[in-house]
C-alpha cells in the first residue's frame, strides 16, 4: 500500500485561502482535512460598536455575498427591536438577495467550476467554451452580467457593499417606471440564460420533474449544445455523479421570506438522506437552538463541546498546534450538515432534485446541477416579485435605536444557511457571532472528531494524477466554498 500526503493550496480558481490536506492510499483519498488559513477577526472588531454599524462591517465579510450578510445583520437587529419590515421591503430585499445568489451561482459556474473541464487532462472543446476570460460562454456571461446588475442597482444603489437593507426596511423606494425598467433588464438577462445556459425557455426547464424528464430534455433540440447540456454530458462521462458523496444531512432556513409569512422554500433539517424507494425522506423542523459551534480543531481558545452562537466565543489562539483551521465546526443536533442549493432544494422537496438525488446521490453532479436549477427558479421568481411591488405603499418604517437585548438573523445565502447572532447592552454590541454556509460545508472536525461535509465527501475520491488533482478540485468546488465568509 502506498500512502502519499498532498497539500493543495491555494486552489486554482477559488477565492479565499483554502488548504486541503489529503492522504492518498492506492490512488484514493483515505483522509482529508480542510483548513481555512486566513484570519480577520470580524466578531472581535464588532464588540463595543453601535449595533447598526454591524450592517456596515458584516457586509464586508464577503465581497460576493455581502448583501446577504447585511440582511442577516439587519434581521438580527430587527429581532432585538421586535419590529417587522413593510411588505414592499420584504419583496425588495428578496429581489436584491436573489440577484446576489444568481450572480454568485453563475460566477461560480463560469469562472470556477466549469473552467476545470478546460484544464489538462481535458480537452479543447471545453476550453473554447469555458476557459476564462475569453472562452465563448464565460465572456458572454461577463457581458450579460450588466443587465442583472442593473436590476440590482435600481434597488440597492451600489454593490458590493450596499446598505439598502436596514432594520426598518429598504432604503430606496422604487416607482412604477423603475419597476418596468427592472422587468426589462431582467427579460434581457433571461435571454442569456435561455439561449446560452439552457437553450430553452425558463418555463420549459422548470417543468422538468424527474431524472427521466431530464434525460428526455437532453435529447431534444439543441439542448445538448447548451452550457447545461454540455455540463450534464461531461459530468456523467467523467463520473461526477459518483464523486463527492457523503452520508449527507441537509440544513436550510428556507430563505426569501414572504410578506405574508413563511419562506419561498421550506425550512428544515434532513438528518437522513431518503433512499431511492422512499423519496419523501424525513424533514424535521429547523430549530436554530440546536446549532452549536466546536473549536477542538480550530485556532481559538478551547472550550468543552459546542457553544450555541448566542454564547459563542472567538478568542484567537494561533499558537495551538492541535488545531488546523481558522473555521469553527458548526453542528446541528451534534451532526455535521451540508448547506446550499442542494440542501435547500432537497428540503423544499423540489421534484427534479429529489429524483436526481435518488438516482445519483449527493454527488458533485447533483450538487452542481442543483445550483444551476436554483438559478433558473430564482430568475423566474424575481419576475413574480417585481410584479408584487406596490409603489404606492411604504418601503421602510422608522425604527428606534437598539439599546439592549439579543436577536438572531437567519437567512439563505448563495452557499446556504447563514446566521448572525447579536447581543446588545447599553446601546452597544456586547457579542456578535456569525455562522456561515461554508462554515457548515468546510467545517473542520468537531469535539467528537467527526469530519465536516467536505472532509467526508473527499474520502474515497480517486486521484489518478496528484500533480493535476482535478478530481479533488471538482469535489471541493461542488460545495462552492467561500473562504472569506468562513474565516470571518
Amino acid at each position: 500500500m502506498v500512502t502519499k500526503t498532498i497539500v493543495f493550496s491555494p486552489f486554482s480558481r477559488l477565492e479565499g485561502d483554502l488548504q486541503i490536506h489529503v492522504e492518498i492510499e492506492d490512488g484514493r483519498i483515505a483522509v482529508s482535512r480542510a483548513s481555512g488559513t486566513l484570519y480577520r477577526g470580524f466578531e472581535l472588531m464588532l464588540r463595543g460598536r453601535d449595533p447598526l454599524d454591524a450592517i456596515v462591517f458584516t457586509c464586508r465579510v464577503c465581497g460576493q455575498c455581502g448583501l446577504i450578510h447585511s440582511a442577516a445583520s439587519a434581521a438580527a437587529i430587527r429581532a432585538v427591536l421586535g419590529v417587522e419590515m413593510p411588505p414592499n421591503a420584504c419583496i425588495a430585499s428578496n429581489v436584491m438577495l436573489a440577484v446576489e445568489v444568481i450572480l454568485s451561482h453563475l460566477t461560480h459556474f463560469y469562472l470556477s467550476f466549469a473552467p476545470d473541464f478546460a484544464d489538462a487532462p481535458y480537452d479543447d472543446a471545453a476550453a473554447a467554451r469555458f476557459l476564462p476570460p475569453a472562452g465563448a460562454s464565460c465572456s458572454r456571461m461577463l457581458r450579460e452580467r450588466e443587465e442583472i446588475l442593473g436590476v440590482l442597482g435600481l434597488f440597492a444603489g451600489k454593490w458590493p457593499n450596499s446598505l439598502a437593507i436596514q432594520p426598518g426596511g429598504t432604503t430606496r423606494p422604487v416607482n412604477a417606471c423603475e419597476i418596468r425598467r427592472a422587468q426589462g433588464l431582467l427579460g434581457e438577462f433571461s435571454e442569456f440564460v435561455t439561449q446560452q445556459l439552457i437553450g430553452c425557455e425558463l418555463e420549459h426547464w422548470l417543468a422538468l420533474r424527474s431524472a427521466a424528464d431530464l434525460d428526455r430534455w437532453l435529447g431534444e433540440g439543441a439542448h445538448a449544445a447548451s452550457d447545461m447540456g454540455f455540463f450534464i454530458t461531461r459530468a456523467l462521462r467523467l463520473g461526477l455523479d459518483k464523486m463527492g458523496r457523503w452520508p449527507a444531512r441537509f440544513i436550510s432556513s428556507g430563505g426569501w421570506p414572504s410578506a405574508t409569512g413563511g419562506t419561498l422554500m421550506r425550512p428544515g433539517w434532513m438528518p437522513n438522506l431518503p433512499q431511492v424507494a422512499n423519496l419523501r425522506g424525513v424533514v424535521e423542523a429547523f430549530d436554530p437552538a440546536r446549532i452549536a459551534e466546536h473549536v477542538k480543531n480550530s485556532w481559538f481558545e478551547p472550550y468543552e463541546g459546542g457553544l450555541h452562537p448566542h454564547d459563542g466565543e472567538s478568542e484567537a489562539a494561533p499558537e495551538r498546534t492541535d488545531a488546523y483551521s481558522w473555521a469553527k465546526a458548526p453542528r446541528y443536533a451534534g451532526q455535521p450538515a451540508e448547506a446550499g442549493p442542494l440542501a435547500r432544494l432537497a428540503i423544499d422537496r423540489d421534484a427534479l432534485i429529489m429524483d436526481l438525488l435518488g438516482r445519483h446521490g449527493p454527488s458533485v453532479y447533483v450538487r452542481e446541477l442543483a445550483r444551476l436549477h436554483e438559478t433558473i427558479r430564482l430568475l423566474s421568481q424575481i419576475g413574480i416579485w417585481l410584479g408584487e411591488v406596490d409603489p404606492e405603499e411604504p418601503f421602510c418604517r422608522d425604527t428606534r435605536h437598539a439599546e439592549s437585548g439579543s436577536g438572531v438573523g437567519l437567512v439563505e445565502a448563495p452557499r446556504g444557511t447563514l446566521g448572525h447572532w447579536i447581543r446588545v447592552e447599553g446601546g452597544k454590541i456586547r457579542n456578535y457571532q456569525i455562522v456561515t454556509p461554508t462554515g457548515w460545508n468546510l467545517s473542520p472536525r468537531d469535539s467528537e472528531d467527526q469530519p465536516g461535509p467536505l472532509e467526508a465527501a473527499l474520502v474515497g475520491t480517486s486521484v489518478p494524477d496528484p500533480d493535476h488533482p482535478v478530481t479533488v478540485s471538482h469535489v471541493v468546488k461542488s460545495f462552492d466554498p467561500c473562504l472569506f465568509c468562513t474565516v470571518h
Partner: protein, 333 residues
C-alpha cells in the same frame, strides 16, 4: 504582452467582484486592451500557468517580469497568521519581495491602500495598507518606497473600488501615462478622486436648502440626520454611477460612508448618525469655506421652499395642487 500579478491578501474579494462588474469596457475586453497576462488572480490563474507558489517565487526572483503588481486587501506587520498557502512564506513577505521588482505597484480597495476595515480599532490583525497606515505614510513598504518605474504605490481605494477606477488606473500605467502629478496627497489618481461623492447627487437641491430626510426611504438630503459623508468623500460616484450606471450609495437611499478615505471606517463611526453642535454638523463639507457654510446654511434653511420641505420627508413625490382651471398659476415653490 506584459504580466499583471494580482495578489489577494487579507481581503473579502469585493474588488474582484467589483472588477467583474465592469461595463464598457467589459472585463474580458478590458483585459485584451490592457494586453496583459493575469497571474495569481483567483479566477484567472489556471493550472496552465503553473503552481501559485512557483509563480510567486519566479516573480520575486525576477525570472517572470512583473509589469503590474496589484494587491487586493490589507497586509499585516504583526504576523498572527500561520503561513498561508503551501508556499512556506507569509503572504506579506511575497508582497514585499515582489513590490521591489515590479514596474508599478497598485493597491486596489481601501484595505490595500490604507488598511481599511481590516485595520480598524479592535482588529486583532495588526493590518496595514501597502504604503499608508490609515492617513500616515509608511505602511508595509515604507514611505520611501518607489516601484521600478519610480512611482509610489498607486492607491485605488473604495470599499469596494469602482471597476472604472481600477481599470482606468491600470490602463494609464500600462501606457506609462500616470505621473506623480496625477496623484493626490494620498497617491490616488486625481482623475477619479478629485471630486466629491456629493457632486451630482440627485439630492443636491435638498442639500442646498437643508431640507433633510429624517428616516430612510425619504427623498431629502441624508447629511443632516442620517450620517451621509458625501461632502467629505473624495470620489466621483454620483457622476460615474455604479451597476451598469444605475445607482450610487445616496441614489440607493443610504448614506455615503466616505469609503475612499484613509480613515475609513473609524473616522466615521457611528456611521448612521451625524455628529452636531447646536444643530450644525461638526463634519463640514470639504469643498466650501467653513465659515461661509455655517453662515449660509442657516439662511438657506429659512429660504427653503415649501415644496422641498414637504418632499424631503416623503418617500413619494408630493405634487403641488393642480391650480386654477386656466393653468396659469404656478405654485411650485
Amino acid at each position: 504582452m506584459a504580466n499583471l500579478l494580482w495578489i489577494q491578501a487579507v481581503c473579502c474579494g469585493a474588488e474582484t467582484a467589483s472588477l467583474l462588474n465592469s461595463d464598457h469596457p467589459h472585463f474580458e475586453v478590458a483585459l485584451r486592451a490592457l494586453d496583459v497576462a493575469v497571474l495569481g488572480h483567483a479566477y484567472l490563474h489556471g493550472q496552465a500557468k503553473g503552481k501559485m507558489g512557483d509563480v510567486l517565487a519566479a516573480c520575486a526572483a525576477g525570472t517572470v517580469p512583473v509589469n503590474l503588481l496589484v494587491v487586493e486587501g490589507a497586509t499585516y506587520r504583526a504576523a498572527r497568521q500561520p503561513a498561508p498557502w503551501a508556499t512556506g512564506k507569509p503572504l506579506t513577505d511575497w508582497v514585499d519581495a515582489i513590490a521591489r521588482v515590479a514596474d508599478y505597484t497598485v493597491a486596489v480597495g481601501t484595505c490595500a491602500s490604507f488598511g481599511g476595515i481590516m485595520a480598524c480599532a479592535r482588529s486583532p490583525l495588526g493590518a496595514t495598507g501597502l504604503q499608508f497606515h490609515r492617513a500616515d505614510r509608511g505602511g508595509l513598504l515604507g514611505a520611501d518606497y518607489r516601484s521600478r518605474a519610480g512611482l509610489p504605490v498607486v492607491n485605488v481605494p473604495g470599499c469596494p473600488a469602482h471597476p472604472d477606477w481600477m481599470i482606468g488606473t491600470l490602463w494609464a500605467l500600462r501606457r506609462d501615462r500616470l505621473t506623480l502629478g496625477d496623484l493626490d496627497r494620498f497617491n490616488r489618481p486625481r482623475a477619479f478622486y478629485g471630486k466629491l461623492a456629493h457632486h451630482a447627487c440627485p439630492r443636491n437641491e435638498y442639500y442646498e436648502f437643508k431640507a433633510s430626510a429624517t428616516a430612510y426611504s425619504q427623498q431629502g438630503c441624508l447629511f443632516e440626520n442620517l450620517g451621509c459623508k458625501g461632502t467629505l468623500c473624495e470620489s466621483d460616484c454620483n457622476e460615474r454611477l455604479w451597476l451598469a450606471r444605475t445607482g450610487s450609495c445616496t441614489r440607493g437611499g443610504f448614506p455615503c460612508l466616505s469609503c475612499t478615505s484613509p480613515v475609513f471606517p473609524d473616522g466615521f463611526v457611528p456611521f448612521f448618525q451625524t455628529a452636531k453642535i447646536s444643530d450644525i454638523p461638526t463634519s463640514l463639507p470639504l469643498d466650501v469655506p467653513k465659515a461661509w457654510y455655517v453662515g449660509i446654511s442657516g439662511l438657506s434653511k429659512l429660504a427653503c421652499p415649501e415644496r422641498l420641505r414637504r418632499n424631503a420627508v416623503s418617500s413619494k413625490p408630493v405634487w403641488p395642487d393642480r391650480g386654477a382651471a386656466d393653468g396659469d398659476k404656478d405654485d411650485r415653490v
